[in-house]
Amino acid sequence: MRIDGKGLIDRTKPVRFRFDGKDYAGYKGDTLASALLANDVRLVGRSFKYHRPRGVLTAGSEEPNALVEVIGAKNQTPNVRATVQEVFEGLDCRSQNRLGSLRFDLLAVNDYLSPFLSAGFYYKTFMWPRAFWEGLYEPIIRRAAGLGSLSGKHDEGVYEKAFAFCDVLVIGSGPSGLMAALTAGRAGADVILAEESHALGGRLLSDAGTISGMPGGEWVAQVVAELTAMPNVRIMSRTTVTGAYDHGTYGALERVGLHKPARPNLPRECFWRIVAPHAVLASGALERVVAFKDNDRPGLMMASAVRTYLNRYGVAPGKRVTLFANTDAARATARELMAAGVTVAAIIDPRPDAFSVEDCPVHVGAEVIGTRGRLGVSGITVRKGSETFEVETDCLAMSGGWNPTIHLTCHMNGRPRWSEELAAFVPMEGAVPGLVAVGAANGSMSTHGALATGRAAAQKMAEALGRTVQVDLPEAEDVPYQIKAFWAVEGKGRAWLDFANDVTTKDVKLAAQEGFRSVEHMKRYTTQGMAPDQGKNSNVAALAVLADATGRGIPETGTTTFRPPYVPVSIAAMGAGGRAEGFAPQRFLTSDQASRDRGAPMIEAGLWYRPSYFPKPGEATWREACDREVDMVRQAVGIADVSTLGKIDIQGKDAGRFLDFVYTNTFSTLPVGRVRYGLMLREDGLVLDDGTSARLAENHYLMTTTTAAAGLVMRHLDFVHQAFCADWQVRFISVTESWAQFAVAGPKARALANAFVETPVELPFMGVTPVRVRGVDGRLFRISFSGEEGYEIAVPTRFGEALFRDLVARAETLGGGPYGMEALNVLRIEKGFITHAEIHGRVTAHDIGMEKMVAAKKDCIGKAAAMRPGLWGPERDQLVGLKAAEPISAGAHLFVPGTEVHRETDQGYVTSVGFSPTLNAWLGLAFLKDGRARIGERVRLVDHLRGLDVICEVCHPVFHDPEGEKLRA
């Protein structure tokens, strides 16, 4: 029910929204919770386990009950707290965790079964038969218990991540936060003021009272105006600081567009990482629930929330309100309601010595021992001494005192301290370096205390930053906070502690009785504190009940661990921009468009995109294109973009010495103008990479790595250089991106290459020379990865696309053309050249038949480790070729024909396969136990996944041109 003349909502801006398919009206400035209460909607959800009817309990982000699904065009967001979600025109949301309608939830049957569903029920009941758990029990239980549902689709909404830096981060904008921000701001420090709500002011917006003689709200407006005008202060509203991390880093979640209709490019949320050497925690306190029988019905609400709805939103949550509270401060709830014309049926105060004169009936030394009303409270039962009586009410405001919001102070393993005086946990000073808790978050419960501690903390920080500031302290109430702990009302029946996970005092006592006496064990046994509210409303009360049940004090019992995030953070916000193709950068070749123009499907090679094959009209499968491209290279000439290979420019007097150190073979003896194949080992002696290095000048080499290991090799070189030979005269830098390089391979390769260079060159095999390529300074290498006479032409990257297109056009006239990765792979398998499919990290130089490449005369990285027993010899799997008449597969395992196929008889495995049009057979490269001694034998290839069982011939890995005559032609 809306109350005229009250609240900070904008009554000139009505909005319409939808809840469970029904349209409602609210105002700009309303939360979904306040707007629903204004429309007298009390029932908003069903509880987690028992499907009990639930209503709005709080007015903040700690809300355990009022969780809804918000439905957008591109996403469906579950577990949205109605107390946080602002209403806007067109907001569409629905209640969750129900079967049927909210009013008649079929799963409410669970509530009648509750005697059987106590804590630990599942663990005890669904033990037998064991196999039924995954298939039967778990799906049923998961269907019955739970909260919101997911759409099952990708969330294609816009999300954002950002970084911020400041001198002082102020978390919360109640009186202490505003005072801290004002002080630090006036001192000239860079300040970020983060406020969870859309409006600044904290409890000052919800509670009556004055500061410096003016209403709290007016003082807030004045301070906010001053802060807004300061260029060094940044106000971040709708931003919750979610975690405190190392080195003064804080996580924060900003609701950017969640309070508006979706717009293109407008982020829904932004996940901030804020770095601040100093932080003020002004997060206030959370009011706590009192446990008594059936204290979870819609209409039962925190007393402070009732004041918030009344004063901030102009809503009376009931027509006949009762108050059950044990502090003097909570009495304001009743007084303010009455002042607004709302009937207060009774005040029930458990303190026998409490003040008993109000404008309504007051029962001191009394307790609420029960409630009634199916879908919302209609009356309560009160016990006073030996007498019990009923009170008609549609809203019970309750308060068991306050818990300082200390979460962030505990995020770096700090434990809070129990304060007997406040009957609450307070932060341990210095638990998070640089973070100081002030105001109610630190147990200063009066407005004066908040203002004073906020100012003091900011002043100290300003001093630490070398600044001075004088700020007058405004006058405000300084009523002492007196409380005697009151957690639960003794009596029969279920008294709720954790509303979100349906945990009652009984469950906690049962946990203690069954031996789960540690608070961490109790938590896991009962699931208390494990719902979206993470126990904000129930942790302290639950451990107090546990302490009582185990006969210990609260400090001995201790708390469970507070972990980030403080409020739920959507994964979409933390991973903003990282979905689908945003996962990693994409690297494109200069020939990319030319390849796509020819219809080539692109495949990923590391981060690169490379053409798989170049289809021609009439070709139905990739195999047809691949076979044609292989033939083309063997008969005429083919062009492939090989720019993805890593290229490292190495210079200095010790360049040769450095290469000798990182390669197994010798490069210092390589003549200028020549290229040599090299093998590189890791420190543990296994093969790291292979490639060629060219000597461009006396003190200048160019190393080539595989595409996959380009970054890895660069890192390895950096490590070796820095760790072992930092004083050598050698420097190196990646030039992978600087050169576009194209393989020209086939019998007509020389004719084609020579057509592009200004003076035709006669280059020996494994030679390199600088050339002018169509007027551009480039390099010509005579190297081959195909087994044919092959050249690689390199030009500065800007000319890459032009050279590729021109090369391909001319090649086509010669009967050739471009070839893709599939053909490239077949060509190298025919030639027995290895890739990282073979040098996969578990093979040695000996395994691949290159032990002779480990030079005897010099040391190199990995040489000593490679000599270890077990890394060489006939017991190792050695590289061989395989030949078969029918399809074979990489990943298949090898066996001796006629033996059983199982793990113990395994003889090796296949790493690469392809159909060779040249040999008209299936070829493979494989690692076979003592393989080199078994050439000519037959092996049985078995692939259970693909259903293959093929007899293959073991061959030398080089099938094509074993003498290398073509290469050297």
């Binding site: 830096f165 717009r263 950068p585 690297r587 210079q651 830098i733 991106e737 600087s738 000319f799």
Partner: protein, 181 residues
């Protein structure tokens, strides 16, 4: 005159939205100067001919169209002018390896704080700062060329991703400011 057609990574693309301009810029030659052990003196002499001095870590300096950017320990890039070989250093042409994107305008810093994990406040990152850092998940060299102007150097092959990420971020920042897109 080369017969091959030269192309930059992004064909000199540019866009302006919400007070931010993003443009691929041609900065001319890029040369890595890696000082060899004991070569500092000789390099200082070599750079003097260009009117430059070897920059302090995380800085760059400019003189008459020539710019020298610190890019790592004992390493700097000379930008905008041809850099001759010099004693005491390994000289490597990097001109084609990088795409350079200029991000400028009053909201430029709001865009970059969404992609760069560094303190970009003017006091901490003044004009003349150059860092090797990340632009979201790619390596980049980031320079502050003015109070409201930055240049971002990324590997040429990743230029399209860098453009996409900057463009997306510019759009989001503009949408926050209420710019109709």
């Amino acid at each position: 005159m080369p017969e091959l057609i030269a192309k930059s990574a992004l064909d000199g693309r540019s866009l302006t939205l919400g007070g931010v301009t993003l443009a691929e810029v041609a900065i001319g030659p890029i040369t890595s100067v890696a000082v060899l052990p004991g070569g500092a003196k000789a390099v200082a002499k070599g750079l003097k001919a260009l009117g430059l001095t070897f920059p302090a870590p995380n800085t760059f300096t400019e003189r008459k169209g020539a710019r020298i950017v610190w890019t790592g320990r004992d390493q700097a890039f000379v930008l905008g002018v041809d850099c001759p070989t010099m004693e005491g250093a390994a000289i490597t042409d990097q001109s084609d390896g990088w795409a350079v994107l200029a991000v400028s305008g009053v909201a430029a810093v709001d865009v970059l704080v969404r992609l760069v994990p560094l303190d970009l406040r003017l006091g901490a990152f003044p004009v003349g700062t150059a860092v090797r850092s990340g632009l979201n998940h790619m390596n980049a060299v980031i320079l502050r060329t003015g109070d409201y102007a930055f240049e971002v150097m990324v590997f040429r092959s990743m230029a399209r991703t860098a453009w996409h990420e900057l463009e997306t971020t510019i759009s989001m920042v503009a949408a926050r400011a209420g710019v109709k897109i």
